[in-house]
């Protein structure tokens, strides 16, 4: 397969061209927070040079608030037209996040169940994944089968080689698109540089903990008192889950009054007490212990069962964002330790 090259000096032009056919999302910094935003005339692209965004890109396909339908006095229910004017392109998404799309897609668009809202946005989306030359100390993609230059979930994989990005199509869609983009092909030197960066980056990551048996470990530990200890300092906020690229739990809410209103779908979190609160007053997950267990079980056990993969891409956002520095890697280590 051919590998192409996008000169950084022509990046702006490249993205402008791209945005003629696509709604292009790039990493952007706004008020100290980095996240993916649709490109505008004033978009600064400098955030591409920095490490991964604070907020994951999942909200591009699975927004925090999704209006399912609206109603008013005079008319019947009206579902919003979910048809996009242009397909979505994401430029500069990191390999871990690119992989998260594939996990979410398995959840939202499976044989059993299709979520039209997700599907409408994701099915034609073009993902430009940018390899991580400088993984952070919190990155642990290599624990869960990923890597700083992985291509899973990407249509076109990018490597930042300084003056330019190497662009390698890695899906049929990517292949089709890249040929239309009139890009220069990469030289041998470029490719060599790319390879070198990849090796360097991979070596920067800490040695992964072996977690192939984690599902089984968890199965055995469901009733362990260890959960209480693990959960003790947890504040039960949703920083970890809302900033997780793969967490996808949601709540349905009706907002408005009898005359007009809407039904919305909003993110929810298993870390909240309310998440499992029943109308009659009982709560099957009454304390932090059960909620913490749920989060870990869902990611490393239940999803393995349902989609065959861990629900974690090792981006490390939950580690950075946790107000009490409750590190999921430590949790995994603790579990392994108890099992051994």
């Amino acid at each position: 397969m051919d590998i192409f090259k996008i000169e950084k000096s022509k990046l702006k032009q490249f993205l402008d061209d791209l945005s003629k056919k696509y709604s292009v999302f790039v990493p952007a910094k706004q008020d100290r927070v980095t996240s993916f935003k649709e490109i505008t005339l004033n978009s600064q692209l400098s955030t591409l040079n920095s490490y991964n965004t604070d907020k994951p890109p999942k909200d591009i396909f699975f927004p925090q608030t999704e209006t399912l339908f609206t109603y008013d006095e005079n008319s019947q229910l009206s579902t919003l037209n979910s048809q996009l004017s242009k397909p979505i392109a994401i430029f500069g998404v990191r390999p871990c996040d690119a992989k998260s799309f594939t996990l979410l897609d398995k959840v939202f668009d499976s044989e059993k169940y299709t979520d039209t809202y997700w599907k409408e946005r994701y099915k034609d989306a073009l993902v430009f994944a940018l390899g991580c030359n400088n993984p952070l100390s919190t990155c642990f993609c290599n624990w869960v089968g990923g890597g700083p230059f992985n291509k899973e979930g990407a249509d076109i994989s990018l490597i930042d080689i300084g003056e330019a990005f190497l662009a390698e199509p890695c899906s049929k869609k990517g292949e089709e698109v890249i040929h239309k983009l009139s890009l220069q092909k990469a030289t041998e030197d470029d490719l060599k540089k790319g390879n070198q960066l990849k090796n360097e980056a991979e070596s920067m990551l800490s040695k992964p903990v072996e977690i192939s048996s984690l599902k089984e470990d968890l199965d055995a530990l469901w009733n362990s008192p260890k959960w209480e200890e693990i959960a003790r300092k947890c504040l039960n906020c949703a920083a970890c889950t809302y900033l997780c690229p793969t967490c996808h739990c949601f709540d349905i809410q009706d907002e408005g009054k009898s005359s007009k209103g809407k039904r919305i779908r909003i993110w929810d979190s298993c870390m909240f007490k309310l998440f499992t609160q029943e109308a009659a007053g009982t709560n099957p997950r009454p304390t932090g212990k059960e909620r913490m267990r749920q989060r870990i079980m869902h990611k490393f056990n239940y999803l393995v069962e349902t989609i065959g993969e861990f629900g974690c891409v090792g981006c490390g956002r939950c580690i950075i964002s946790c107000p009490v520095n409750l590190d999921v890697r430590e949790v995994i280590k603790e579990i392994k330790k108890v099992r051994n």
């Binding site: 100290r32 300092k233 504040l235 949703a238 809410q253 907002e255 520095n325 590190d327």
Partner: protein, 321 residues
């Protein structure tokens, strides 16, 4: 500081050894540089994990709320390591019947401020700090390709810069030397109040629009111990749960009202926020109002009547038509 840690460990070790407590809540080193993490020590062997420095930003009083409070064997008191603000929060807990004074052994530590990592990012840019070292009033941070020497003051939490109570007002054991109190400090939001109402609205609109409703602020707050927060209520469900600006703004307004007269401006909410919403001015403004209007400062007196559950016929009412 190292000296304090040493004394602290000895103190805790002694408490455990003499079986005065079964459990001590403190801080240990975090998995990230400039982060500490709360730790629950039950064995002497773990005591050496205890630390205390400018990274110890969590308000440990959080863990004493009625529903969270760890159950200890034989109803022995819980040992807890507290800075000035944690100590004041504990006083509030006592006032508000969340814990009894005799249920805890307060190990006071002097605090000259904790780090707000977002301020650090402003200084060093969006780079990962991998190492840090405190040298007197300076702090040296180091990353893959940089090394910066910063004035500690520059990266301390805003709340700490206004703090007038660096030492806990109530304690059983005090470790180290109390930090001299700077009497000139007081809650101050002048920079915002000098703006026009519309400009202030713009400021808060910008801040609050970053909120993702993860409730890290609320859940990090020692005083947010309600069995059910108003925002989680369903009968009625007063406000929406989405990050809609109106709903979110009102969540923060009402939370501020609910902590008015109780909030000690520890800044834990602001430091907890994963998206960097600056909530501190709300609490600081309320602390100022409560002080000016009702002459009350939260967290100093375990016998006090909370100002919002109190009245005085001479309360100012210039705002009433």
């Amino acid at each position: 500081m190292e000296n304090i840690e040493k004394q602290l460990r000895e103190t805790v070790k002694k408490l455990l050894k003499e079986k005065k407590v079964d459990l001590v809540i403190g801080y240990s080193k975090g998995t990230l540089p400039l982060h500490s993490t709360p730790v629950f020590i039950t064995h002497e062997k773990d005591v050496d994990n205890l630390i205390f420095d400018a990274t110890c930003g969590n308000n440990l009083a959080k863990y004493l709320g009625k529903s969270r409070k760890p159950k200890t064997k034989n109803r022995k008191p819980i040992g807890i390591i507290v800075k000035g603000c944690d100590g004041r929060s504990i006083v509030q807990h006592i006032v508000e019947n969340q814990i009894k004074r005799e249920e805890i052994i307060i190990i006071g530590v002097p605090c000259d401020g904790v780090i707000d990592t977002r301020k650090l990012e402003e200084k060093v840019g969006r780079k990962e700090v991998l190492k840090y070292q405190v040298e007197g009033e300076k702090i040296i941070v180091e990353g893959k390709d940089f090394k910066n020497s910063l004035k500690k003051k520059e990266i301390l939490s805003d709340s700490c810069l206004m703090c007038k109570y660096p030492n806990p007002p109530v304690y059983d054991i005090f470790v180290g030397e109390p930090v001299p109190v700077n009497e000139n400090r007081k809650p101050n939001t002048d920079n915002l109040e000098s703006l026009s109402p519309d400009k202030r609205w713009e400021y808060f609109e910008k801040e609050i629009s970053k909120c993702i409703r993860c409730y890290a602020c609320r859940n990090a707050c020692p005083l947010c111990y309600c069995e059910e927060c108003f925002v989680d209520q369903s009968g009625p469900q007063w406000f929406g749960k989405s990050p809609d600006l109106s709903d979110t703004m009102i969540f923060h307004i009402v939370r501020t009202l609910h902590t008015a007269g109780r909030c000690v401006s520890c800044g834990a909410c602001t430091r907890a926020c994963p998206t960097g919403v600056n909530l501190a001015p709300l609490g600081i403004r309320m602390e100022k109002e409560i002080k000016d209007r009702f002459g009350y400062t939260a967290g100093l007196d375990t016998e006090a009547t909370p100002p919002m559950a109190d009245w005085n016929e001479n309360d100012k009412q210039e705002f009433i038509m």
